[in-house]
């Protein structure tokens, strides 16, 4: 088991060993990986073959022309993928064999004529330069291609990441891109909301690690340095770990494991660093987004709490104040002897109690909706029964309004919870009653639309301010400046009950003025 102290110690112990191994790998890479031992062998074979061919025609064309054939061959080698090493070897062998087999005196490395020595030296230099230059051009081409591939890989990563909708998608894209670009396996640990990482890797990870390896990943997260295989810290682990951290915050760590135990090339390493930088930026973006959302949520819920507290306490206390005041006056001798006064006071008590009752019922309805335990008592019911019964229940409130009901004849029985649907209608009609002036006409229109029942409730009152329309069904929302009394619950309860029937309700202002609600009750099977 590693703890942080041990990890720090190992960082120094393994440093020397790492450096030597790195240098060896560096040289091995330049000569082997770019050409391969096989290429050296091929270049030698080609030169030998040319030797044989030239030896057969040598009598006809003279030994000076042979040098041109050799030069031609050597200069062609880089074009066929031979690196600087094999090309130089070919140049050297061809120069020596030209000297040995073709320049008189034959079968010795001795050159008799001074111009032949000059030609030999010049041949060697030209072959050498040709070989090196062609190889370099090829290398440049290769590098350019590699750079392009890297740029493409980075571009693709960025493109995908920028359209990722959430942190999980970011993780998935990250791991997939790293896997494909570097041919490695990857494991990702992301910090949770409290900014801590746990040993539960992200689901998108392509392999898993043991307890010890996890502690390295954690160390990397805590300290913000890379560690693990091919680094100076804990090189004996199976993977290399990189921190995902910005100057502002730590977001997690990512582990990379190559398949063949080979280290990434310097270029790949650079690209990986670029990847991780981009990933960090995106993860940070996601994190900040979440933070902003949370902050909004908290401020919203605080606002809700405040609204609730203000409106409920006001709504509760007003009728209670009325009741207490009126009741204490009633027990006063002065009032008890005056029957007209005491009648008035009792009436006030009654009104206050009704208001209190309505509030409590609204709160209870809201609680039923919110608790998620609302069970519909579905039964066949007559829609016109529903409408007329709702109006009947609101008789006292409706005395100063005109109500006009039309129920289309083709309306048959519908399956719904009578109590809930009635409460929904009552809430909507009651809303019209209290926010429209006396004498306002309320029109209720019931008709059938395909299999659904449509109930339109419209008035010719002042209507709603346009900006409040989208918020009308929100809990505790009240139109700014509306008269006191009311909690902003009625319409949201109505919507809740209608939604429970898989129905819908929309609100709008009528063209001729006034508000209109359209309720749709689907035919439930």
């Amino acid at each position: 088991m590693f703890n942080q102290l041990n990890l720090d110690k190992e960082l120094y112990i393994f440093a020397g060993y790492r450096m030597k191994r790195l240098k060896y790998l560096h040289y091995k890479k330049i000569f082997v990986s770019q050409s391969g031992w096989l290429r050296y062998l091929f270049s030698v074979l080609i030169v030998v073959a040319i030797n044989f061919i030239c030896y057969s025609f040598y009598q006809g064309i003279g030994y000076q022309a042979i040098s041109l054939v050799f030069l031609f061959t050597v200069s062609l080698l880089p074009l066929f993928g031979f690196g600087p090493g094999p090309t130089l070897l070919a140049a050297l062998i061809s120069a020596l064999s030209w000297d040995y087999f073709f320049i008189p005196p034959l079968y010795t490395f001795h050159i008799a004529k001074i111009e032949d020595i000059l030609m030999f030296v010049m041949y060697f230099i030209v072959a050498f330069v040709t070989g090196v230059l062609s190889a370099r051009i090829r290398l440049k081409g290769m590098l350019a291609r590699q750079r392009e591939e890297r740029t493409n890989a980075l571009f693709n990563l960025l493109k995908e990441l920028s359209s990722a909708p959430g942190i999980d998608e970011v993780a998935e894209i990250t791991i997939r891109n790293i896997e494909q670009t570097f041919d490695v396996e990857a494991i990702l640990f992301l910090a949770d909301k409290e900014g801590q990482i746990t040993n539960k890797q992200h689901n998108a990870s392509t392999y898993s690690i043991d307890e010890n390896e996890w502690h390295i990943a954690q160390w990397v997260f805590m300290n913000g340095f890379k560690a693990g295989k091919f680094t100076n810290t804990l090189p004996f682990s199976t993977s290399t770990y990189y921190p995902i951290a910005s100057s502002r915050n730590k977001y997690g760590s990512i582990g990379i494991r190559t398949f063949n135990e080979e280290q990434l090339s310097a270029d790949q390493q650079n690209l990986l660093d670029a990847f991780i930088t981009q990933i960090t930026t995106i993860v940070e973006r996601e994190y900040l987004n979440d933070l902003a959302k949370q902050t909004l949520l908290i401020s919203e819920s605080e606002k809700l709490y405040k609204t609730l507290f203000n409106s409920i306490s006001h709504e509760l206390k007003t009728p209670i104040t009325t009741i207490i005041g009126a009741a204490s006056s009633l027990s006063d001798d002065l009032f008890s002897t005056n029957s007209a006064l005491s009648k008035n006071l009792s009436k006030e008590i009654n009104i206050a109690a009704e208001r209190l009752n309505r509030l409590v019922e609204n709160l209870l309805d809201m609680a039923r909706l919110e608790s998620g335990t609302l069970k519909l008592k579905l039964d066949w019911n007559d829609i016109s029964d529903l409408v007329y019964d709702s109006i009947h229940r609101l008789k006292a409130e409706l005395v100063k309004h005109k109500v006009n009901i039309t129920v289309s004849k083709d309306i048959k029985l519908f399956k719904f919870d009578f109590g809930l649907m009635e409460q929904a209608l009552i809430n909507i009609i009651h809303n019209s009653v209290i926010y429209t002036p006396e004498g306002t006409q309320i029109k209720i229109d019931v008709k059938k639309d395909n299999e659904d029942c449509i109930i339109k409730i419209a008035d010719n009152g002042p209507g709603f301010p346009a900006e409040s329309l989208p918020k009308l069904f929100q809990k505790f929302y009240r139109i700014p400046g509306s008269k006191t009394g009311g909690t902003g619950l009625g319409l949201s309860i109505a919507k809740g009950f209608i939604d429970a029937h898989k129905g819908s309700i929309v609100v709008g202002n009528r063209r001729k003025g006034g508000a209109g609600f359209i309720i749709k009750i689907p035919m439930l099977k």
Binding site: K377, D379, L413
Partner: protein
């Protein structure tokens, strides 16, 4: 001394008992209070009550069980007091033989009206001709008239009307009506009931869309009221 009907009030809330006591006594009823289901049962058995007001939410026993016990030894009218949103309990109580129900909060004039109806049902003898508003039914000749005009009712409609008249003022649950008219295997077929209620209303109500004789008790059932 005048005869005073006795009413037993079973409710665990002393304030509600007190209010009911004052109201009922001032309306010439004799009131016996019971603060628990146990006391309520004792009073119901011993006090020769004419009517029982029973709260469903009692602490020591389920109100429905109290009702069941009462019905096991007495046919005394029982009016259920309950809170809103407990239609299921109300329907269960009515099916168990309760005569009527009131949801809290209720106003006392409504309560007094219901008590009068329940008491009258016991005392009223059957007559051969029943009149309610402009409607008249002759039980002997089976002729139903509205504003002296004879109505053509189907057998089922007539039976339905008869059931309402027999239980005038009383809430009839959907199940009860279905069982009485169509038989026990039809108690789930509430759509039959809606159709026939609609037809009956069309014939006997002066404004079928705004019925004032057969009223809808939301989520519970129907009630025929006596028109003044």
């Amino acid at each position: 001394m005048n005869y005073k009907p006795t009413i037993v009030v079973v409710d665990d809330e002393s304030q509600i008992r007190k209010i009911l006591h004052i109201t009922l006594e001032s309306n010439d009823y004799k009131v016996i209070e019971a603060d628990s289901a146990k006391n309520g049962l004792v009073q119901a058995a011993t006090a020769h009550a004419n009517l029982i007001l029973l709260d469903l939410g009692l602490p020591d026993m389920d109100g429905l069980d109290v009702l069941k016990e009462i019905r096991s030894f007495s046919d005394v009218p029982v009016i259920i007091l309950s809170v809103r949103n407990s239609e299921e309990d109300i329907v269960a109580a009515l099916d168990l033989g309760a005569d009527d129900y009131l949801t809290k909060p209720f106003n006392t004039s409504e309560l007094l009206a219901r008590i009068r109806v329940s008491l009258r049902r016991i005392m009223q003898p059957q007559e051969s001709i029943f009149k309610n508003g402009s409607l008249a039914i002759d039980f002997v000749s089976h002729v139903v008239t509205k504003d002296t005009e004879e109505l053509k009712l189907t057998n089922t409609e007539y039976e339905l009307l008869l059931l309402f008249i027999k239980n005038i003022g009383k809430v009839l649950t959907h199940r009860f009506i279905l069982k009485e008219i169509w038989g026990p295997s039809y108690i789930e077929h509430s759509q039959y009931l809606r159709v026939f209620i609609g037809q009956l209303r069309k014939k006997i109500e002066s404004d079928p869309s705004e019925p004032n004789m057969i009223l809808t008790e939301s989520g519970v059932g129907y009630r025929m009221v006596m028109l003044k």
